[in-house]
Amino acid sequence: MNLQNISPDEVIYFHLGPFPISATIVYTWGVMLLLVLFSCMVTRNLATGNRIPRWQNLLEIIVQVMRDQIREISHQDPGIYLAFIGTLFIFIAVSNMLSVVPGFIPPTASLSTTAGLAVCVFVAVFIYGIIQQGILGYFRQYLKPTPFMLPFNVIGEFSRTLALAVRLFGNMMSGAKIAAILLAVIPLIFPVIMQALGLLTGLIQAYIFAILAMVYIASATRTHHEKAMELENKEQAKKGEVHG
């Protein structure tokens, strides 16, 4: 077992100019193509009447569940988060689940992919935090509860991003590798169970990744939100006293 077997990044299919196009990128394109085509086909004829096509129904259920989850975690309108969190979940889930297809190497089994996604989350936390609280408001968070906590806050920010990337990569890579190892040891029947378990793990990992991203974003945006809520509560309490 060498590095090439662990990471699909090392499998170079061809070079596009100076850039080596690895298996990870190719399979990512494949997943992207699949998702976009499927979405296009389904959403081309959307029905708003009583009867809706079953594929539209499926997509509506998925989107609705994601919106509900986002709303539950962030206590905010899911509008601006849906595209980011939803795409994370769908991309990871579809990539992981396609791992049961023979010959398909899930892009999420590459640490580069998971690192890329983690970087996206890291940046998104900044962007959403700044959108919601303003630049000063966002960066003031790192000084809480005291300015002495600043280094730890910064370390936490980076470490959790790293954890995101490594968690997903580890799980997916291990799933694929364990399947390969078990095939060598017990070639019949047992690998099927492992594949099924792999599907479950893949879905759970997608869920965990998306939920954690949302939690990070929510924690960056919620302070402002909570302050507003606290102010509101105080005002209400005052009113209550006055009325009392």
Partner: protein, 279 residues
């Protein structure tokens, strides 16, 4: 090195592209569809609620109207029944009155007929008796009877009340003492003398008596002066008899209708019972 930095950047770009594409082709459209359908459902629910309310109101108003109509119908039916009842009663009453009236008329006609018949009979009997008696008396009249008549007349004059006598005398005096004495037969001289003497004795000396004969008197004497009359005649007796006979006949005639009316009443009551049964 597990991390290929070029791949990382490529994946980030890939991810961003995928995010944009999915936002365009999936999320926006699906969310829009969901919102639209939710709006539609909400609209429909609202519409249904409104319609339901309308239907409820309409149902209420219809029920109200139905109840009103039912009441009206009942009222009308009652009225009609009442009217019919009254009308029937009136018709029965009219019919009964009509029957009574007809019966009364018929009975009246019968009574009139009987009365006229009885009248005719009475008149005929009286006339017959009268003429028979007159003829018999005329046949029997002779000098002696005439004398007896004169005597009876004289007795009558003498039997007059004092007041009457005075009034008569006064009347005679005013008419110049002339009086006319009608008799049904030729008075002989003795009779004339006796009557004249009696008259002069009772009514005054200046009385002049003029004698006339009137066969229609049958048998009797009439004394006339200044419109007054003192008379004795068989006619009076006959008339008296006739009066009595007709009275008797009338009484009998009256009794018979009484019987008839009693029978009629019985019949009427029977009829009433029958009609009440049929009601």
């Amino acid at each position: 090195m597990l991390i290929n930095w070029f791949t990382v950047i490529a994946q980030i770009i890939n991810f961003l592209i995928l995010m944009v594409l999915l936002k365009i082709f999936l999320y926006d459209k699906i969310v829009k569809a969901i919102d639209e359908r939710e709006k539609k459902i909400a609209d429909r629910m609202e519409d249904a609620e409104r319609k339901n309310q309308e239907a409820e109101e309409r149902g209420k108003s219809l029920q109200e109207e139905k109840r009103r109509l039912e009441d009206k119908r009942k009222d009308m039916l009652e009225e009609a029944e009442h009217e019919a009842d009254e009308r029937r009663k009136k018709l029965i009453k009219d019919a009964r009155e009509e029957v009574d009236h007809r019966q009364g008329e018929w009975r009246e006609a019968l009574r009139r007929e009987k009365k006229s018949f009885l009248d005719n009979l009475r008149r005929m009997i009286a006339e017959r008796t009268f003429s028979l008696a007159g003829r018999v008396l005329q046949d029997l009249a002779d000098a002696e009877l005439q004398e007896r008549v004169a005597d009876v007349f004289i007795k009558r004059i003498k039997g007059m009340e004092e007041d009457e006598k005075k009034q008569a005398a006064k009347a005679i005096r005013e008419s110049g003492g002339r009086i006319v004495l009608q008799s049904s037969f030729d008075m002989d001289e003795t009779g004339k003398r006796k009557i004249t003497a009696a008259l002069r004795e009772e009514l005054g000396d200046e009385v002049e008596v003029e004698y006339e004969t009137d066969p229609e008197l049958l048998l009797g004497v009439n004394l006339k002066f200044r419109g007054r009359k003192i008379a004795w005649s068989l006619e009076y007796y006959l008339e008296d008899i006739m009066e009595q006979a007709s009275q008797l006949l009338e009484e009998q005639a009256r009794k018979e209708p009484d019987k008839q009316s009693v029978q009629a009443k019985e019949r009427q009551s029977e009829q009433q019972e029958q009609t009440s049964d049929s009601v």
